[in-house]
Symmetry: C2
């Protein structure tokens, strides 16, 4: 078996090979099984896979192996490291996705950041003050509760998302579309420094020196959603890249959320569209994101519903008193409901003698206080 660094060098060299992007890499790996095997392949076999001749030449001569070795050293000097697809430490959520990057360049406390539940908060570079505030507020609230905020280090919504996490003293991961030695836009150098200083991390799949070219940004976006349990799109205009990010996230089976906005605002066209037509979940507040995370995480960070002491067990629950500030109709309904047996609205009407209008009003009020839950067929139960 090759020493670890030899395998690594092959991955890194493959990732640096001209004409071999993520999609071609996936095809090569499917065919050959490992980076080493690709470099051992005869030229004619590479040609059969319709690789550009420049790439074939580079692979056959292993001309990039020296540069790859130097790359490891240069990344170390930057204070970073390189992890490859078959490392045990490669982020597991990202590994599960279709065509994950074979190499990740990382800086900062990446392992600690990615060990926590990650939520991406993204949106347009050109955004409104409303969008910036919404991104800031949601990221702050989520980061305060131990969620790592992942975003793309871009202007606008991305920057607001990172800043929200930093303001909360939380962790944030900046996924870059450039090499680890570049910061784009350049005036985000201070933001990048702050992310690192506050136990955050920077991540990119691109070799050192990679400039900000627009073809790379969609790949960056797939890493953003790939690292995250869900993606919150805060603002996006009609033809925004954020819409594509959202769709890619859906294809990665990630939860997609969108913050609605005025229908007269260009910047909210895309997010409203995602809610209307693409199944994105509407976000009014951080709880709307938290409640869709895996149950154990949601339970940890969400406050228990509108009652003080939360007791387990059916009997206790039945005995539980209604909150003191309920109106008479609300109290009557609350007393009739239990957590285990849904009651139909007609039964409630019969038992409370309330008119449908009074009943509906009281039910809605209890529902909005999260004391009860509406089920299909006009049935209602108490919330646990």
């Amino acid at each position: 078996m090759l020493p670890h660094s030899e395998i690594m060098i092959s991955w890194i060299a493959l990732n640096m090979t001209p004409g071999v992007g993520p999609r071609v890499t996936a095809r090569l790996l499917e065919h050959f099984g490992s980076a080493e095997a690709i470099f051992d392949a005869p030229r004619r076999e590479l040609a059969l896979l319709r690789l550009p001749s420049e790439a074939i030449e580079s692979i056959a001569t292993r001309e990039l192996h020296d540069r790859a070795e130097a790359e490891i050293e240069r990344v170390r000097r930057l204070g970073g490291e390189i992890i490859v697809l078959d490392d045990g430490v490669y982020p597991s959520l990202l590994r599960e996705t279709y065509d994950p990057p074979v190499v990740l360049y990382v800086r900062g406390a990446w392992a600690e950041c990615l060990d926590r539940p990650c939520v991406a908060v993204v949106g347009s570079r050109r955004c409104s003050t409303y969008g910036q505030n919404a991104a800031l507020m949601l990221s702050r609230e989520l980061a305060q509760r131990g969620i790592t905020i992942v975003s793309g280090m871009a202007r606008g919504i991305d920057a607001a998302a990172h800043r929200g996490a930093l303001e909360a003293g939380g962790r944030t991961v900046g996924v870059m579309g450039t090499g680890l030695d570049q910061v784009y836009p350049r005036d985000h150098k201070k933001l990048a420094d702050e992310v690192l200083k506050q136990n955050g991390a920077l991540v990119t799949q691109f070799p050192l020196g990679t400039p900000p070219v627009s073809e790379n940004f969609p790949y960056r976006n797939r890493v953003i959603s790939g690292l995250s349990l869900g993606v919150v799109v805060v603002e996006a205009a009609e033809n925004s890249g954020s819409l594509i990010t959202a769709r890619l996230a859906m294809e990665q089976n990630r939860e997609v959320f969108a913050v609605p906005g005025n229908i007269t605002s260009r910047n909210s066209f895309g997010t409203n569209y995602l809610i209307k037509g693409a199944g994105a979940k509407l976000v009014q507040q951080w709880q709307d994101v938290a409640s869709e995370l895996p149950a154990d995480i949601a339970a940890r960070i969400l406050p228990p519903p509108g009652r003080k002491a939360k007791k387990k067990g059916e009997l206790l629950d039945r005995l539980q008193l209604a909150p003191a500030d309920l109106s008479a109709p609300e109290r009557a309904i609350f007393k009739l409901l239990s957590t285990d047996t849904p009651l139909q609205i007609d039964a409630l009407a019969e038992n409370t003698k309330l008119s449908i209008t009074q009943l509906t009003s009281a039910l809605l009020s209890l529902e909005m206080r999260e004391l009860i839950r509406a089920l299909p067929g006009k049935c209602f139960v108490r919330r646990m």
Copy 2:
């Protein structure tokens, strides 16, 4: 059989009886079958139904029959008329609802208005400029296409909805929470006149002289949604009556729509909540409402999707050329898709050799131009 006006007089008298609101009326009708039978009932039978003694007295003595007769005359002098639940002309959508009003006082071209597809546009009295503009715009666009706009004649969103319809030269119905001889608020007198002048109508279930009391407004709201195929809520704060209207509309099996807004706006809290938690459909533009109306109505008023000539038949459809302004990837995808056989995204990737990122971007663009439709399981078809 009694002459028509005798039956009518009984209904009108019943509707005027003190202590007999819509809910009690429904209970009486269920028991006795008709207004006449109620007035023929012995006192003790009425008492068994737990009617207040004042109501029993009034019914037994038929004391309101004379006033009811005078009421018909007074309404005629106002230029209106009274229709009762068992009239053939009673609005059929309203009749289908739970506890419909037994009497409707109407003025203006009510039959023509209600014969057309009706959509309610409602919202808070205290609303933002954004909300007013959204209500105005949506009502104008829908009214232009022959939809009757139904609303509650209140300040704020309701007034904007009526005005939008009037601006478009369309029809609008004002449902009142007062008697037909009152206008509330008083400075909406001019609005009421314009509604009538422009072939619109005013409708109420309340006897002449009924002042604007808050208990009556929920009943007014049920008539608004009961007359309509769907209800669009434009703005609603957290504890807004419009939320109750929306919930009542759902209980009447009406489509409920809501216009989203900034999550930082109090006035959009309720509408965002309806979309997030109550299944209301998000409305960005009038088409979002139109497309949920019964298929024949939707087909009549919605423009055909993104292509010029709309041809029927599978063969013609297959031959149909892609619009000239598609990008190369969009064109490649469009050519592969047909209207009858969904294609999976993997098949599209295989056939087009596009990366997932390019593919997703092009699919999204085609989808937003309404040239293709996304189906579950990452499948796509052309739209008819």
